[in-house]
Amino acid sequence: MIDVKHLSKSFGEVEVLKDINETIDKGEKVVIVGPSGSGKSTFLRCLNLMEKPTSGDIFFEGENITQANEHEMNKLRQRMGMVFQHFNLFPHLTIKKNITLAPVKLGLMTADEADKKAEELLERVGLPDKADEYPSRLSGGQKQRIAIARSLAMNPEVMLFDEPTSALDPEMVGEVLELMKQLANDGMTMVVVTHEMGFAREVASRVLFMADGKILEQNKPSEFFAHPENQRLKDFLSKII
């Protein structure tokens, strides 16, 4: 589904991603872990072109997306949902409007269809009574669940999660991870950057370890955590578990 070939990304002098090659298949749940500054988020953001790669190619469903023009880029992003660390809900709009804005503005649904879809999604994320509230009235966990619902409203083929629980109070992490698990069970293709090792262990079909802009090791979660090979990974795991 997503093919990454020789992907490099620099910010000025700093090379954040160094010649990354990776393939993500349909239905996979890929979890990316690693120390901060390792390029995890940048890698994720390259996948939907929120960051423009410095060199290399990314293929989505066989199409090279790195040379996409504005219009193609917007089309591509409609097929890839993204969830941010800081939720980034639209504070001036009600929850329902947050969810329906993009599908309606992009002409994918009528206002009525979008409203119905929003109600469905709110039911699914367990917040059916919040439709007419503003984001400022929600807790962090609720905000993130709405952000996920907002992405799902576009019927994406892939969901990208950029540290979705890192900005949450501990007691709210569970509800968001639970929702992500449901999503995984429903067969969504997911790429998740996270520090939640429990989630990686339980949900991932594959775990990638990134450090210094490279993918140093990857494996099934059982092997990944039980028998790490790379020294950096061993150090990393010993520090967090």
Binding site: N48, M50, E70, H71, N74, K75, L76, R77, Q78, R79, M80, G81, M82, F84, H86, N88, L89, F90, P91, H92, L93, T94, L101, A102, K105, L106, Y134, P135, S136, R137, A147, R150, S151, M154
Partner: protein, 230 residues
């Protein structure tokens, strides 16, 4: 007390002098109203060009033009701009003075509105932009549906202030012989040789307009802040 009544009689009632004030007020309001509209339109456009340049590096030439506009307008006095507009730019054409004033004040106000709105746009968290773009909205759609409404709310008090400044600034319209409110009061003074009554009245009228305007903006602000309530 009798003197005050005499004064009033002489300044406003004799020869229907109060017409100078009402007609002047009408002119002042017309100039302000249309200049505000022109200023807002110009200001928003310039702000969008400038912040698009700041965010994406595109629109280099337009941005340079906008910067020249801002520098010239903000670097020269309003009265001089008004005189130049009337005597130089439209010097050889027969054109309605009020229209000249609308253009001059609108173009002047646009420069200030532009910087106010730009600061509002830049104050919106970049995450809002990213969220919009990640959903597949174009730059323009993200700007219009997500960023500008939030920016507008932030800068509303500053914009209201700009309206008030503009309303009072139009009092220099007399420089090109427009009979606005200020000029109206001054004409009465020159006819009756009494300064107190007409000038204080003019000041009061400005004051009342500003107070009403401030009140209305406060109302609007409260309505827009609905989404902030916790």
């Amino acid at each position: 007390m009798n003197k005050l009544i005499d004064d009033f009689q002489q300044n406003f009632l004799d020869e229907s002098r109060w017409h100078y004030l009402t007609n002047g007020l009408k002119t002042t309001l017309i100039i302000t109203f249309f200049a505000v509209i022109l200023g807002f339109v110009l200001g928003f456009l310039v702000a969008i060009v400038r912040s698009t340049h700041d965010k994406t590096g595109k629109m280099k030439i337009l941005n340079a033009l906008c910067r020249v506009y801002l520098t010239v307008i903000r670097g020269t006095p309003m009265v001089v701009q008004l005189l130049i507009t009337y005597f130089v730019i439209f010097g050889s054409v027969n054109i309605d003075k009020t229209l000249v004033a609308v253009l001059a004040f609108g173009v002047n106000s646009g420069a200030y509105v532009a910087e106010i709105v730009r600061s509002g746009i830049m104050s919106v968290d970049n995450g809002q932009f990213e969220a919009g773009r990640s959903l597949g909205l174009s730059y323009r759609q993200t700007m219009i549906s997500i960023v500008l409404p939030q920016a507008f709310k932030t800068v509303l008090p500053a914009l209201a202030n700009e309206c008030i400044v503009l309303l009072k600034e139009t009092s220099v319209a007399g420089y090109i012989a427009i009979q606005d409110l200020t000029k109206g009061g001054d004409i009465i003074r020159s006819q009756t040789f009494s300064a107190f009554m007409p000038l204080i009245t003019v000041a009061l009228i400005y004051l009342i307009m500003v107070v009403v305007l401030t009140h209305l903006v406060g109302k609007l602000e409260r309505r827009l802040s609905q989404s902030d309530r916790r």
